[in-house]
Amino acid sequence: MDIISLPQKDIKEGTMEKIKVIHYINQFFAQIGGEEKADIEPMLKEGIVGPGIALKSGLGEDYEIAATVICGDTYFGGNIEKATKTIIEMIRPYKPDLFVAGPAFNAGRYGVACGAIAKAVEKEFNIPVITGMYKENPGADMFKKDIYIIETANSAADMRKAMPKICKLAKKLVNGEEILSPSEEGYLERGIRVNYFNEKRGSDRAVDLILKKVAGEPYETEYPMPVFDRVPPNPAVKDISKVKVAVVTSGGIVPQGNPDRIESSSATKYGIYDITGLNSMTKDKFMTVHGGYDRTFVLENPNLVVPLDVLREMEKEGEIGELANYFIATTGTGTSVGNAKAFGEQFSKKLVADGVGAVILTST
């Protein structure tokens, strides 16, 4: 199927001098459908669709929304590389000057898609890209370092407020104007440390800070340490002999040949690997790509990281209800496991959908 719909007329015609914008939205905002339509493949429509109206009015007369790309969230999430490539080729003939994705608000997969496609477009065409989402959207943490993400509220009801902020920053990016701090422009902090001259010297500010801290008043650090947030523990499993158990590992265990090309440290992706019918992690089928330790022992016996041999026994003995027919693997040293928030969210959805009731996470 040819999913690349080329423009029907010379795209230059009628759009002379205007700044060309491509807008990316999902199936929901394109009013195609909700979850049941989330698997639609990328398509391109000329001109404005859905929230593009607000985008158009915010950007003003000098801008023209040349086309809108629509893609289902599930399709994008499951086919990131393919979907990205397709969309890049779809918009290439338009020679866009600006790419706007979303905003995605609190929709997780939509947020990830907006971030991923915006980042890819920036890399491919070297043009300004922008999106918007709620700060707890997993796409925010994943992409805020790479692109500008305007912070929105957690529902689409915020569209009226969010779009003008997106337009304002987008115009500054197009015009090459100086981008001010996150609080001034409304984007999520990208974690880029930029120098400036404060009115007071550092020691003076430190005295202010200690006096506030000692007095029990609110105070703000100038450099936040890596976040150490907490999630309360879930209730215990009532009876593990009736529950489906899955294994997740950060120990980098993958099938021989590493089909998903998982990186050897601080991986940016994960793999889901089938173990149907296997009674043990044999060294001819599995290996580790982890670069963070001496791998000799684990290469010899991958059960040392994914304890399939004993879990299968326990499944047969009825000690556990059932073992999931796959395990999930990524690579991380101890500390960076904490950063793998975004894909943790993704695969947790799958675990829930597959009825997994308990997880054993192994790390080296």
Binding site: G292, Y293, D294, T333, G334, T335
Partner: protein, 109 residues
């Protein structure tokens, strides 16, 4: 005494990490000295055998140090220094580690 003749700064850290993973404990900081990992080609680290278990603090220190080293090397590789400068780096590395060995406490631990 383990001398990585053709090794790099990160090779020393990796070797140190592997030792720590087999129950060695760090005695000196892996990033001793203010020289950044992409400046000096010389690095000495002292570890000791046998607390019979993994030393957590050593693991965390070495991981942080490796992260930091890769960060610097990503942006700029260690230059190929002249013999004279290499000697200076050697002198400083030796001085850092000598001060530890000379410490009367060192042999007691």
């Amino acid at each position: 005494m383990n001398y990585l003749k053709d090794g790099t700064y990160t090779d020393v850290l990796k070797k140190t990490r592997d030792l720590i993973h087999s129950n060695y404990k760090l005695l000196t900081h892996p990033m001793s000295g203010s020289l950044k990992p992409n400046q000096t080609p010389y690095k000495s680290v002292i570890v000791t055998e046998g607390c019979g278990r993994i030393d957590y603090e050593s693991v965390i220190l070495i991981e942080n140090s490796m992260d930091a080293a890769y960060k610097f090397l990503k942006f700029k590789k260690t230059p190929l220094w002249t013999e004279k400068i290499l000697n200076d780096f050697k002198t400083v590395d030796l001085s850092l580690i000598e001060n530890v060995i000379k410490n009367p406490m060192f042999n007691a631990i």
